[in-house]
């Protein structure tokens, strides 16, 4: 596969959330606002690229029987490094993202790509895959977060869109957990319709 294909793979064809249904926990939990979605996406993408790189680099050195513990140690190390460095040098960003960073360890997209892609592909492809998957994850979160923030708070990226009269009595369920499930179902249904229209839908 060419690098461009590896890169674009994660954005639509194998979008981690809409097509692979990975990473649902953080996906549903942090999409209450577009700002949170972008922050979580950026942090997850960074860890994804780093872990894909290392896993791919050492793919021939790590015995397959202990690969999962090794991947988890690698991922957890990167997450902790990001947490500490961000806390020291970018305290403002750390304050707004603080609660999401430890969540990245349990984001199964990262382990999924280490296991499913990086451990059998060369370094450059793995880097491209990490960037593509990260972008796909971020995009998916921004889409759901846009609906939730717009319906549940009347704003988009903290900018008032639907006006004060809506914001004072918003559709609160959209920003609560049940709203996340309901809106996710609509979005997944939309993608399935698209797939079926194209023909060859499984």
């Amino acid at each position: 596969m060419s690098l461009a294909k590896d890169l674009s793979n994660g954005i639509y064809r194998e979008n981690p959330v809409f097509k692979l249904a990975l990473g649902m926990c953080p996906f549903l939990a942090v999409t209450t606002s577009v700002e949170n979605a972008l922050g979580m996406g950026a942090a997850a993408t960074f860890v994804l690229v780093c872990s894909n790189f290392l896993v791919s680099l050492f793919r021939n050195l790590i015995p397959s029987k202990v690969r999962i513990p090794c991947y988890i140690v690698i991922i957890a190390t990167f997450v902790t490094l990001v947490d500490m460095v961000m806390n020291a040098y970018l305290p403002d960003l750390h304050k707004s993202l603080g609660i999401f960073i430890p969540l990245i360890v349990v984001n199964c997209i990262i382990l999924g790509r280490a296991e499913g892609f990086a451990n059998r592909n060369p370094v450059l492809s793995s880097l491209a895959d990490g960037i593509g998957m990260g972008a796909g994850f971020t995009l998916a979160m921004v889409i759901l977060a846009s609906f939730r923030e717009l319906l549940g708070n009347g704003t988009w990226l903290n900018m008032s869109v639907l006006g004060q009269s809506y914001s004072s009595q918003p559709l609160l369920i959209a920003i609560l957990s049940p709203g996340a499930f309901i809106l996710l179902a609509f979005i997944l249904g939309f993608f399935n319709v698209l797939e079926n229209r194209k023909g060859g839908g499984r």
């Binding site: 942090v30 209450t32 606002s33 202990v66 090794c70 500490m84 020291a88 603080g98 609160l172 609560l176």
Partner: protein
């Protein structure tokens, strides 16, 4: 057997490298983080104490040990510590800063509060919270609940539905109540310890705070308590106990 040792050695090496990398980075970042947190604390104190001093006057802070100060935050495993605010004109003190700890919906909310020497709230800022994003977390946003606390004394520092003068934020009564009650508890403890001048506290005697815990049980029926409440109403009663 030989393979198991080999696997063990590999795992140990991976863990060792990770531990060394984390240790190195931590030794670099820990002092910077500590300095930053101290600076953030100083900055927060200056910010909440802004209304206590005249323009351009810079307040000084020193921690004081208060005799007979009861700790209202024992249930949250925290300690009430009081910082005296002084300036050049009033070396005996112009007010106090303390941190209130209240159990909210999903975190213990830390609110830094400045009070003048009469026990009137002069400024508040949320130091830490991890409440529901989009709901309780909005408590930090300007023009929301915390900005309406200025100018209140302990009896008024209570939600409207509990008999006080602060409207709770829609959808996050637990969060609002945690902040407001924790501040009031701190104020009452400081009042009991005799920290405030009596002159400004006339209302204290005339209008005792209706602080029965029973009022909390009415909460779910109140109009603006929404879904966030329901799973966890019992947790509030801890916030109400002094």
């Amino acid at each position: 057997m030989g393979e198991m040792i080999k696997l063990g050695v590999v795992l140990m090496l991976v863990a060792l490298i990770a531990a060394v990398a984390l240790g190195l980075v931590n030794s670099q970042t820990a002092p910077i983080i500590a300095v930053q947190q101290e600076m953030a604390k100083q900055e927060a104190m200056s910010r909440v104490a802004l209304n206590l001093v005249q323009d351009g006057d810079s307040p000084a802070f020193d921690s004081i040990a208060v005799e007979g100060l009861e700790n209202p935050y024992a249930s949250a495993d925290e300690l009430l510590s009081v910082v005296r605010v002084t300036n050049d004109a009033h070396p005996e003190g112009i007010g106090f800063v303390f941190v209130a700890y209240g159990k909210g919906y999903s975190s213990t909310i830390q609110t830094m509060v400045a009070v003048d020497s009469d026990g009137i709230i002069a400024g508040t800022t949320i130091l830490y919270q991890s409440e529901t994003p989009g709901l309780g977390a909005n408590i930090e946003q300007p023009a929301r609940l915390i900005t309406h606390l200025d100018g209140l004394d302990a009896p008024d520092c209570m939600l409207t539905k509990d008999g006080g003068r602060i409207d709770s934020m829609t959808g996050c009564t637990i969060t609002s109540r945690a902040v407001v009650n924790s501040i009031r508890e701190g104020l009452e403890a400081m009042e009991s310890a005799g920290l405030f001048d009596d002159a400004g506290m006339v209302g204290w005697q005339v209008d005792p705070p209706p602080e029965q815990d029973e009022s909390i049980e009415e909460a779910p029926a109140a109009s603006d308590s929404t879904m966030e409440e329901t799973p966890d109403v019992g947790a509030v009663s801890e916030g109400g106990s002094l």
